[in-house]
């Protein structure tokens, strides 16, 4: 069965994924909105940068983050200037890395949802006296709701499954940075296959449910509204 150390890893993983998802919805929404609306030439480079974590090996992302978060890196100096102290091997460091790592999983569904809305509802709202901000909350958010749900689910799930980046910048500190995926790795290293089975099986079931949920909120052949 699960040990205390397993429970601690699960709690930490859920905290990390929850916090990351919340932050990403706040940060990713304006980025996705800008990408969906702009015709500016640097849309393509920004979009590529946001999407990078999708194709980059997590160790590469982790490596650069480790360097940047170091005492001489720009992120390290920045966090010290803010009084946050060191980022590597801390929970805030993990959150920061996860936000970058899971960014495309929030931005892309949102951007697609915003694109699908088109110009017309925004123009209609403007002719009905709604300011752009008002329009965003009263028209865009409700119409893009499936996009928000997908974004939240994918970001949460992707952060839960994070391994390489965590190992590079967070290490393996129980109660601080040791998440489920790292815990499974530890169990296997220690030949504790029974314990590894419990956690791995849990992750398998979790991942399956996540994909089921995504399909549920984004059914094929969506109703088309005029």
């Amino acid at each position: 069965m699960l040990t205390d150390s397993d429970y601690s890893a699960i709690r930490l993983t859920l905290e990390l994924a929850g916090l990351t998802t919340a932050l990403l919805l706040v940060i990713g929404t304006p980025i996705a909105w800008w990408l969906a609306r702009t015709r500016c030439w640097w849309k393509a480079p920004v979009s590529a940068v946001v999407t990078l974590p999708l194709v980059l090996p997590p160790t590469v992302l982790g490596f650069y983050l480790l360097v940047a978060m170091g005492p001489n890196g720009f992120l390290g100096q920045f966090s010290h200037a803010l009084g946050l102290g060191n980022l590597p091997f801390t929970f805030p460091g993990l959150v920061f890395a996860s936000v970058l790592y899971s960014m495309p999983f929030v931005v892309q569904p949102l951007q697609n949802a915003f694109n699908a809305i088109g110009d017309r509802p925004l123009e209609v709202a403007a002719t009905l006296r709604a300011s752009p901000l008002d329009t965003f909350f009263s028209v865009v958010v409700p119409l893009a709701r499936p996009g928000f749900i997908t974004a939240a689910i994918l970001s949460f799930a992707h952060t839960v499954g994070e391994f390489g980046v965590v190992l590079m910048i967070g290490g393996n500190i129980e109660g601080k940075t040791r998440v489920v995926s790292v815990q499974i790795y530890n169990h296997v290293e220690a030949m504790e296959y029974a314990e590894a089975h419990w956690l791995a099986g849990g992750m398998l079931a979790f991942s399956f449910l996540v994909l089921l949920a995504v399909n549920f909120f984004n059914p094929q052949g969506k109703r088309v509204s005029p």
Binding site: R120, P121, E123, V124, A125, A126, T127, L128, R129, A130, S131, P132, D134, T135, S138, V139, P142, L143, R223, S225, P226
Partner: protein, 361 residues
């Protein structure tokens, strides 16, 4: 409703896209329906979008009733303009019920600015039974009626409509036209109506801007525009005039109703309207024949004294004659031979025999 000449809308826009340019300088009256009429691609919709502020031209000018909405870099954004806009597709918010759609704009205007009550907008468009439905469950015609009511509910000072009937089939058009005519009769605000349908324009418009290639080729009261022989509207098989009349008398013996206008009276089959009711007629140019004397021995009931104003070539066999009946222009399309036999000349007194009229409202 005779078109009064209060130049309430003063607009100048210039815009150039690849393959399209708009260059207009127009004044529209402050009451009644002004139609922006022309073929597709002539810039009607773009002009309407400029009026709404949905399209922003670099140095345009727009004033409504003395209030400036655009001048040089000063630009009032759409959501601060007291206008109503009806798009070609109803574009109702799919996530809101009909009632919530109607209330969307209403909630966003100050209490003091509410001159149209939600109830009167609902009543005017006949949508009281649809309020709790979601837009998905409405027919095309119902959706467009909700969209019009939604635009009215913000108590606009001008109503802009972009071909509100174009996306509908004939039956749906017939369903909505009476409501548009009610708007025309009951609204105190100017209505700018984009259309490429001569029939809609004849039924609804008081004033007309003829658009072509991004330019306003000509503009004026509809009666003048339809009879100006230098414009294409006054030519062809479909040419004709539109006359605003009032019910003058009912003849119960012969079951007729006389409709009066400045040029005389026109008798039609008995109509169910009260005296003084406003009725718009259309008289096709091909249904007016001309005579030098008033014949008592003809079955034609409606004979109007008029004078010849202008004669223009139509086909090798036809000419188009513009007449003046008590200040109201009429068009008669007759053969060139008849014109020669009658010796028609500008200034000549003549009798216009009206073979048929169409009641538009």
């Amino acid at each position: 409703m005779a078109s009064e000449h209060i130049p309430a809308i003063d607009a100048r826009f210039r815009l150039a896209y690849p393959g399209f340019s708009l260059d207009v300088d127009i004044k529209l009256p402050g009451r009644g329906v002004s139609a922006l009429f022309g073929p597709s691609g002539s810039g009607k919709t773009t002009l309407l979008r400029c009026l709404a502020g949905l399209e922003r031209t670099p140095d345009g000018y727009l004033a409504l009733g003395g209030e400036i909405w655009q001048q040089g870099p000063a630009f009032v954004p759409t959501h601060r303009r007291p206008l109503g806009y009806v798009f070609q597709e109803a574009s109702l918010f799919p996530h809101l019920s009909v009632r919530r759609n109607l209330e969307y704009g209403l909630r966003r205007i100050a209490d003091g600015a509410r001159r149209v009550s939600l109830d009167s907008a609902i009543e005017l468009l006949g949508i009281g039974h649809l309020l709790e439905r979601i837009p998905d469950r409405l027919s095309g015609g119902e959706r467009q009626r909700v969209a019009i009511a939604r635009a009215l509910a913000v108590s606009p000072r001008i109503l802009l409509m972009d071909e509100p009937l174009a996306a509908l089939d004939l039956a749906r058009k017939q369903e909505i036209l009476p409501y548009l005519e009610r708007l025309h009769d009951e609204l105190e605000i100017p209505l700018v109506y984009v259309s490429h349908s001569p029939d809609e324009v004849a039924r609804l418009a008081d004033y007309m801007v003829l658009m072509e290639g991004g330019k306003a080729v000509a503009s004026g009261p509809i009666h003048e525009m339809l009879t100006r022989l230098d414009l294409p509207l006054a030519h062809g098989d479909e040419a004709g005039v539109v006359i605003d009349t009032t019910v003058g008398e009912h003849d119960e013996i012969y079951h007729l109703t006389r409709l009066d206008f400045a040029g005389g009276g026109i008798s039609v089959a008995r109509q169910p309207y009260a005296l003084e009711h406003h009725v718009r007629l259309r008289i096709p140019a091909r249904d007016i024949s001309l005579a030098l004397e008033r014949h008592g021995d003809s079955s034609i009931l409606n004979v109007l004294p008029a004078s010849v104003v202008e004669i223009a070539d139509e086909t090798p066999a036809h000419v188009m004659v513009r007449l003046d009946a008590g200040g109201v222009p009429l068009l008669a399309r007759i053969t060139r031979k008849s014109s020669a036999l009658l010796g028609l000349k500008p200034g000549m007194a003549i009798f216009a025999q009206v073979k048929s009229v169409a009641l538009l409202s």
